[in-house]
């Protein structure tokens, strides 16, 4: 094992740069989009770093589901590999950002237990790419009830147990899981921001990513609030604090807007106004908020992947790689799934985010 100093990013960054070289480029995506035959797609993917995972996944699943499984396995392994190269500070920062996978996993477990889903099925829907290990997730999924799961998190000293413990009474009263999920989301951002703020200039980069993520979450909430005309109390409850640009008062004012046009007009003073304005034509054409969400996601991915530029000795290289890698996985999923269901090539290309 390589020993690195607390703040030394040199070794890790060198390894990650090498991994970055193996990321698939636009020419590869183009080649894959043009293939009609699923078997040829698999053949082409087997010439990439996904070969091992594909061979492993086809033993358990078939068709597009096997590719999906392979991509999932590859993502979890790659993120763990990245963490293994990092200095302690880098590990703390990157694993904080990867905490969103922990949130996904905890929510999935809570949802599964809430609906009495078989633990095996719950485990199949997890992606151990965060700080929580596979073995811990398995144990959580096997709990009989929500209370047992939250108690176990608290017993292990996992901080995500705290917001859940606070809200478990509301859940017991209402049987509404959304209270626990919202508390978990808010806690993740607050806790992560607190964690990265203590880590100096490198923490600043992670903070920037987290705050942009908070803004995007708030913007998507606003779009849904506008669509279903919810009362102000609901808007207050759903606001996630400490974002980069969207403040509480602005959020409440925007939540009262009559239509999406007005909402976007109210955002023109922020970075997101122009992005959403640019996606409005597509929104009108498809009548779907997904068009606006994809525009925000593109901004977020480009921002995350762009972190590696101009930061040869900081955590930016790792953050940039993680975002680029995740985006590559999403792009491959879009192409493979899209071709399988007969999605037009034009639509597939529109959905891809190229960084």
């Amino acid at each position: 094992m390589v020993q690195v100093a607390v703040q030394d990013y040199g070794y890790g960054n060198a390894r990650i740069r090498a991994m970055r070289q193996r990321l698939l480029d636009n020419t590869f995506y183009e080649g894959l989009v043009e293939l009609d035959d699923f078997d040829r797609m698999v053949q082409l993917l087997q010439q990439t770093p996904y070969k091992d995972e594909i061979q492993e996944a086809v033993l358990r699943k078939s068709g597009a589901a096997a590719i999906d499984e392979a991509l999932k396995l590859n993502l979890a392994r790659t993120f763990r590999r990245v963490l293994s190269f990092m200095s302690p500070e880098g590990q703390a920062l990157v694993s904080t950002l990867l905490g969103r996978w922990d949130i996904h996993n905890i929510k999935t477990i809570l949802r599964g237990i809430h609906m009495h889903i078989d633990p095996e099925e719950i485990i199949d829907s997890l992606l151990p790419a965060g700080e929580l290990e596979e073995i811990e997730l398995d144990e959580l999924a096997k709990q009989e009830d929500i209370k047992g799961c939250i108690d176990l998190l608290a017993t292990w000293g996992i901080s995500y147990g705290r917001p859940l413990t606070k809200e478990v009474a509301t859940y017991a009263e209402t049987r509404d899981l959304s209270f626990l999920e919202l508390a978990l989301d808010k806690y993740y951002f607050t806790y992560s921001l607190r964690r990265v703020r203590m880590l100096g200039p490198n923490g600043q980069k992670a903070q920037d990513i987290l705050q942009t993520q908070i803004d995007i979450v708030n913007l998507l909430t606003l779009l849904r609030l506008q669509k279903s005309k919810q009362p102000e109390e609901e808007a207050k409850r759903l606001y996630v604090p400490y974002g980069r640009e969207i403040r509480f008062e602005q959020f409440l004012a925007l939540a009262q807007k009559d239509d999406v046009d007005d909402l976007i007009d109210g955002l023109l003073t922020t970075t997101y106004g122009r992005i959403l304005e640019g996606a409005m034509m597509k929104y009108i054409e498809h009548g779907s908020l997904a068009a606006l969400e994809r525009a925000l996601e593109t901004h977020f991915v480009q921002k995350g992947a762009g972190m590696s530029k101009g930061d040869p000795l900081g955590v930016g290289i790792a953050i940039g790689y993680i975002w680029a890698k995740h985006n590559e996985i999403v792009n491959l999923r879009i192409i493979v799934k899209g071709r399988t269901i007969g999605m037009p090539e034009k639509r597939i290309r529109e959905e891809l985010i190229l960084v």
């Binding site: 899981l177 849904r224 493979v336 799934k337």
Partner: protein, 213 residues
Amino acid sequence: MEEVRPTRTELLQRRAQIQLADQGKDLLKQKRDALLIEFMSVMDETLRLSTELEKAVAEAQYALAVAKAVDGSIAVKSVSFVTKGEVSMEMSGTKIMGVSVPVVTKGESPLRSSFKRGYSVTGVSSRIDETAEKFEKVLDVIIESADIETRLKRLGEEIQKTNRRVNALEQVFIPQLKEQVSYIRMTLDERAREDLFRLKKVKASLEKKRAAM
């Protein structure tokens, strides 16, 4: 042919039966025509709903595939765990031209807002949200279709049953009765001719005797 007694009473009975069967046939034909009119209007509605259902299912499946592609199967599956719910509907019955048909009335609409599906919107993409919405729409159309399709099925069955009855009267029962009437008539005529012949013979014999005296 069933055993028929070739008597005048039997002839009158058979004629009355034919008249009754004719009336019954006409009534059944009227019922069938009325059912057909009802059937055609229900058919139009069923076709409309079936097209709507086909469209809703195609849109929902496409949205699901896009959500699985962009957000990943695990994210979609995770949300699907919690979006399970109940569909409420009321079942009652009514009669159309004497045919009992069930009436399915929607209770609470299966269409829910993003804020009522049991997950927090802060962690779920709008693609998954819209997929859930589209499948709820499918459910809504299915409930509507259930009512109209059952109505169409019952009406169709009743039309078939009525048609079979009309056919049985028209092609079996009435022709049989008519055949029996004609048999009785022929037999009675035959008897009448025999009687006449016998009477003529007796008369001729009496006249012959009278001439010999």
